[in-house]
């Protein structure tokens, strides 16, 4: 771990130095070029360059392979996971990356509470840590997951959504995202294989920003994204992110005399008085303030917390995840029929893009919110964020793992409430 790390928000390819975005290059010693392969041959580049500027090439691959290519370029120190469908294929791919030397360590945990606790330990030790789970595994690990933000522990959790509640199924249904909404961490919801390549890399960098210092989850709908093939455009595989810079973060690593470890050792629960209440309150406020501060970086690297299609349309669809893909097709069909319909894709669920949505929906007369879960967590979030909520048609919904026929969205658009 000897890469040099620089922090900068300046443009990354300077005119006077076309290689200014390269922070560390193993090929700088010509005698090494012959031997270097795989991870050792990767160049560390500025995140701005990797996310926004580097030339890309398209490949026709599955979501699991897209995640693998993301992790290949993420400079991950340790991956920790326990297998569960539909996450298994992705973590198997990550296992190959370990075998090829792109990840420094790989730990198969006992089960998810063990996995998520180990993630806390690894992050606290100052290394870049990746984990992934799905449905019931997320439920099993959620005690530890909910403790990560208070520990101010940067990490990335991939969530391949599937049914969690009985009767059990392994098909995609994203109700599990609702369990993450109040934990305090960042939650991104990817639409497709492309997002499953882009979002984990961005999540690592945002998660580790000193003013953020929060865990980040990247959710996608299982099978529809993980096991399905689609086009993914990616920069060259010999590029990677800078390593985690744990010495310049918001909280010191493994320091027993200072928060947050000090709080774990001397928990407020041991001396319930006004100081412990005050401490907890301030700590919680700080977690949610850090979420707000993450918006700047997320907006920059995700190219906006939301994407808007047909911004002037009177009827707007608001969606996240797979529902966005179905809505794109619904917009195409609606346009063919001469209907005036637009679409807002929400990329970041936490932090929630309240301001962006209010601006983009101010003119809308009707707002349709298609979802792949029974409870409709996104429509509830939206209603809490905007005014004139009588405009919101909170549906259509599918659940239990089936996809949403585009006809259902068209019906919701054309039918009066």
């Amino acid at each position: 771990m000897s890469e040099e790390v620089k922090e900068s928000t300046e443009p990354h390819v300077r005119k006077d130095d076309p290689r200014s975005h390269v922070l560390s290059d193993p090929a700088s010693k010509p005698e090494d070029i012959e031997e270097k392969k795989g991870a050792a041959a990767q160049r560390v580049v500025d995140p701005d360059y990797l996310f926004l500027e580097a030339p890309r090439e398209k490949e026709f691959i599955t979501g699991s392979e897209a995640a693998k290519e993301s992790i290949r370029r993420a400079n991950v120190d340790i991956a920790i996971a326990y297998p569960i469908t539909p996450q298994s294929e992705t973590m198997q791919q990550v296992g190959y990356l370990y075998a090829e030397g792109y990840i420094r360590d790989y730990y198969r945990g006992e089960e998810e509470i063990g996995v998520m606790s180990a993630v806390a330990g690894a992050s606290r030790a100052g290394v870049r840590v990746l984990t992934a789970t799905a449905g019931p595994g997320l439920m099993r690990g959620i005690e530890a997951i909910a403790a990560w933000p208070g520990g101010r522990l940067p990490s990335v959790l991939l969530v391949m959504c599937r049914v969690v509640n009985a009767p059990l199924a392994i098909q995609p249904d994203n109700v599990e995202i609702s369990y993450l909404l109040n934990a305090g961490g960042i939650v991104l919801h990817g639409e497709n294989q492309q997002d499953f390549y882009d979002y984990p890399l961005i999540a690592f960098m945002v998660s580790e920003k000193p003013e953020v210092s929060l865990p980040a989850a990247v959710a996608v709908d299982g099978f529809f994204v993980t096991h399905a093939r689609n086009w993914v455009s990616m920069p060259a595989e010999d590029l990677k992110l800078p390593m985690r810079d744990c010495y310049h973060e918001a909280v010191p690593m493994m320091d027993n005399e200072n928060p947050p470890i000090r709080i774990a050792r001397d928990a407020p629960i041991q001396k319930s008085n006004f100081i412990s209440y005050q401490m907890h309150a301030a700590w919680q406020q700080e977690i949610w303030a850090a979420q707000e501060r993450s918006k700047k970086w997320l907006s920059r690297w995700l190219r906006g917390l939301i994407e808007v299609v047909n911004p002037k349309a009177k009827t707007m669809i608001v969606a996240s995840g797979s529902a966005v893909s179905q809505s794109r097709e619904a917009v195409r069909q609606a346009t063919e029929r001469g209907l005036d319909v637009g679409l807002i894709k929400i990329k970041s669920i936490r932090p929630f893009p309240t301001q962006e949505l209010n601006e983009a929906l101010d003119h809308a007369e009707k707002i349709v919110v298609p979802e792949f879960n029974y409870i409709g967590w996104l429509s509830k979030e939206l209603k809490a964020a905007i005014d004139r909520t009588d405009r919101v048609f909170a549906g259509p919904r599918v659940y239990g793992g089936m996809t949403m026929p585009t006809e259902m969205i068209i019906d919701a658009i054309t039918n009066s409430k």
């Binding site: 529809f224 097709e329 069909q333």
Partner: protein, 238 residues
Amino acid sequence: MSKRAKRYSVRMAGIGGQGVVTASHVLSNGVIIDKGESTMVPFFGSEKRMAPVESYVRISEDAIYEIGEIIYPNVIVIFHTQVITHGKSYTMPFYTGLKENGVVIINSETVLELQADEEKELRDMNAQVYHIPASQLAIDFAGTELATNMAMVGAISAILGMPGPEAIEKSIRERFIGKGIVTSGGTAALDNVIEKKFAKKAVLVEKNNDVAKAARAFVVEKGWDRWFAEGRQTTSVN
């Protein structure tokens, strides 16, 4: 007749171990090799032999946005008669959602007897029901029933008129040699079995391709490739 369909939706149904998911990868990738647009997604429960498996392939000349299972297919591909006779299907009856003038192709040496009401419904929607001895072609040309899925790929591509035989051959090659595709544990184990049956992977590719070509020839001989070519297929909007 109407102009060529904008996009085709293919629903494949079979049982665990037959290579339904592999077939969908080979077909979808073949379309990509032929410069078309395609996406695919598999659907199955716990991975086990003889359990229901479906896989869906979307084929289009334009961008494809939709994801998930195909509810309204143009073509339904039945890899095993148990899909119909034992209800090993995610939809009952097996042709649920088939578009008007659609095609059903069934792996069977004999014409499968359906219920009278099923016969009527298929007739009413002007469905073309074809039977192909795919498993027998696999045994004849590759010496193993495990190549049944390649026969089905050859048959579908002939019926649709795409992807072409060269693209299918290249797609089979990419599946078994070189980068390969992501497979589940069960499929990886079956890969080991099939690789042991052939001295070299090159032979395996060649035999698989022979099966696909034989199925193509079978379809052409029967004239089933004319249905889509003559544009009788309903234009698909989704």
